[in-house]
Amino acid sequence: MTNGWTDIRNADVVLAMGGNPAENHPVGFRFVMDAKRNRNAILVCVDPRFNRTAAVADRFVQIRAGTDIAFLGGLINYALARARFHEEYVRLFTNAPLLVSERYAFDAARGVFSGWDDAQRAYTDVSSWAYDIGPDGFARTDPTLQHPRTVFQVMKQFYARYTPEEVSRICGCSADDFVKTAEVITSTYTADRAGTIMYALGWTHHSHSVQLIHAAAMLQLLLGNIGRPGGGLNALRGHANIQGGTDCGMAYHNLPGYIPVPKAADQTLDAFVSAATPRALRPNSTNFWSNTDRFVVSQLKAFYGAAATRPNDFGYRLHPRLPQAESGAYENWSWAYIFDAMHDGDLEGFFSFGMNPVSNGPNSRKAIAALAKLRWLVVAENFEQETAAFWRDDILSLVDLRPEDVQTEVFMLPAANFAEKDGSFVNSARWIQWKWKAVDPPGDAKPDQEIVARIFLKVRELYEKEGGTFPDPIRGLHWWYSNPTSPSLEEVSREINGWAVEDVRDASGAVVVRRGQQLSRFLDTRADGSTLSGNWLYIGMYTDQGNMAQRRSTADPSGLGRYPDWTFSWPANRRILYNRCSADGQGRPWDATRVGIAWNGERWVGDTPDYTVDSPPGADLGAFIMLPEGVARLFVPGQFVDGPWSEHYEPVESPVPNPLHPEHSSNPAVRPFSSAFDVLGTAEEYPIVCTTYRLTEHFHYWTKNNPYAVQLQPEFFVEIPEELARQQDIANGDQVRVTSARGSIEGKAMVTRRIKPMQIDGRQVYQIGFPIHWGFLGRGTQRGALANLVTPTVVDPNSFAPEYKGFLVRLEKV
């Protein structure tokens, strides 16, 4: 989230789209109801289904799953065509005035951007997705926004195609409904109004998910809603600590703190740092990533301690680098690619800490077949689950194998749960909140830190004893904890924040942090090895004042629900990201009743400013300090692989060809997998659009062991529109089978008016949907109802998130 749960109460308009917060984040949803009650806020819900959020919304629009970009493109067009955008904000804080390269083009008839190669069916040269760079090395600009190649004008032209009629044709809502909704949503373009967007997996589970969120960001920037109390683009996120996991480098492509994992081409620390450090694109922009060297060296010191020295590039060569194939592409080791490689027999061993990929990953049958090729599998869990038990007869029968056929050695380790260990979670509002251990784990169950430490230390012992391949990083790893076999998480937390290894000095030579002191500011890190910090982004979390994630003051000086002394919010305890945009060019808040930050003549006051605290508003440092141009990207130069603008592409399995450009119907940058399990269906064979979702009474695949949850929602069901049910003679409670090209799932029919049939480009299209929470193991009625038996392994080409929403199926009565 750019803002936070408690800030949503400050909104005038709330758009819930690609998420169903009333169902899935019910307690956070209180702040939407608060805004409705106290501010007369308008709640708009746009979804394929009349869901629990829709039930309390002021406006609901049903759209076809997978067409959100068309709807958002329509809103962008509506705002631009009717001058319902915040012009001063757009001029100050976005790249609207920057000029786009002369070589950039978009072929609207075919649906591809410049750089597309027909022969290779790929974008082979995307250098035209760039700014027009002047002789001074900076991007050219036209502050009047009139030049035809300004981002603003190019954008206006690009989105002019998304008329209300076109939105209706693609999404299946009426043009009239769209216009009425657009009027409400774009009403926040004035300085005295703020609107927020709440989204979740309904947006990220598409083969065009990153561009979808890009579209939403463009809309919020045009309306002047980013950085302001009551505004923002708020990813609700699905789990207690996926935010923290992402922050801490649990992704194949990122180190902790969003530093890219080194690549094979970066053979030295200097080469790596220089590749990872962007060059400023505007004369005064802060370009905060220019500090990458300090963050990297401090992290290497945290990893390798005394083994990280200046002569050995601070241990840089001990760290693995991403392999590059002969073809030039760097290997992709994201989730779906791991399982693809596992299915090809390229992996021998696998650890799953509290994860259940047979259930939660796409294409369950492929996952089961892949696990069967492993030599060994380790699962640490609270309850027995489908991945650990994939070798059971009933699960293996899905891929026509028997337990005797599968040679995988499986370890299922009993793990402590949340109440049985301490440590911090980061919620979707970026609050790092400490929790305390309440009770010991049952029986022989152990906390994860002990499991990880004992395995690592045993491996290290074996290398010490027997020698082996490249033992250096294992021997050199900085395992300094008082109790090495079960590190104290307080100690780990101190390391993540970091401390001074030697006295830290400023440019004049004065000591700013003494040796041994905890760091409290990003800029106290050094690239000379005098500081250690596991994750620069969390600096301030554990200072000499103590563990800030344990703070519990509910003081709210702003009166806006920012609670600055409640735990700690990354970065730098900032509660609203990009908050420089909450004030105008002179530093005066756009709305005096909702102050983010304000310039008092000497410094910025309010929230922790997203700007140098004592730099005046006219310093032109840029409100988006992490970007080299210092302004937000409407046009995105060279960051995404599928284009600089968000274009509507159909899901990979779609009931209709793309009405805008049938030649490139779905995202042309998507790379399909080719195993025997990776099959796609056609609209002729599988005519129904299907989507998956969750219920408030269950959490993912965990609560099927919880008696109350099982009583509340006992079994898998399929929601079917009345008209479709009538057509197929299906009554409420009948057993039905949903089949895709990948597999099928059976359960009870729930005939509903919550999903209406739609007219899409002149054709009648039905949608159905079902919740995901069941499987083979758990209390009550499970019957092997794994939702992902039917979903495809098709992933977004930027985020590599799977397309769980909007795939094709057929429906039968059993």
Binding site: C248, Y304, T408, G423, A801
Partner: protein, 199 residues
């Protein structure tokens, strides 16, 4: 480092308000009735521990009540979980999942022993931890010794291990996520490291 607040129960706070028979709290109103009522509750003698709900990303504050902590030779047991009234997000409320969190902790289906499935096997066998750690570490070393990729296809040093994958939990703390990254990637050289956020 646990602040005293965590161990000071709200009930104790109410009780301190009645010391000396004044029965008037710092807030200035009489709490006798509230105190009398509190004494009847099952959770009156419990220890309260502040925690965070492990389910969705709203991260509601919860209070876990355990009984038996202060007695010798008694294993403390979780008897109740409720919303933390001081938490600015949930202010004491919880959703239907959160309100039944006790069943996530105290549950007869919890795993309490190490289970092992031998190649080709049809059953779980109970194994001791030490045996499992030794065996897993041996497998890791064997795979790594044979499969660590010293160079990529273009002959550049990479020291990358792609024959072992690690996926981490969405209810693992930051500290455990960091330790996983440190031990497996920075230590063993594992590249395929992922988590729930991807999917």
């Amino acid at each position: 480092m646990q602040p005293p607040l965590v161990r000071l129960t709200r009930r104790e706070f109410l009780r301190t308000g009645t010391i000396g028979g004044a029965a008037v709290s710092a807030l200035g109103f009489d709490l006798t009735a509230a105190y009398a009522q509190v004494r009847e509750l099952k959770i009156a003698r419990t220890t309260e521990t502040r925690s965070t709900c492990p389910y969705c990303s709203v991260s509601c504050g919860v209070i876990i009540h355990t009984l038996g902590d202060r007695s010798r030779n008694v294993t403390p047991a979780v008897v109740h979980v409720e919303g933390d009234p001081d938490h600015p997000i949930n202010q004491g409320t919880l959703c239907p999942k959160g309100i039944t969190l006790k069943q996530n902790i105290v549950n007869d289906r919890r795993l309490t022993t190490v289970k092992y499935r031998a190649p080709g096997g049809r059953v779980w066998e109970d194994k001791p931890w030490d045996w499992a750690i030794d065996r897993i570490a041996g497998l890791v070393k064997d795979t790594r010794d044979r499969r660590l990729r010293i160079e990529d296809a273009r002959g550049r040093t990479i020291n990358a291990l792609t024959a072992i994958g690690v996926i981490g939990g969405c209810t693992d703390t930051n500290e455990v996520n960091y330790l996983l990254v440190k031990a497996f990637r920075a230590g063993l050289g594992v590249v395929p490291i992922e988590q729930q956020a991807r999917i």
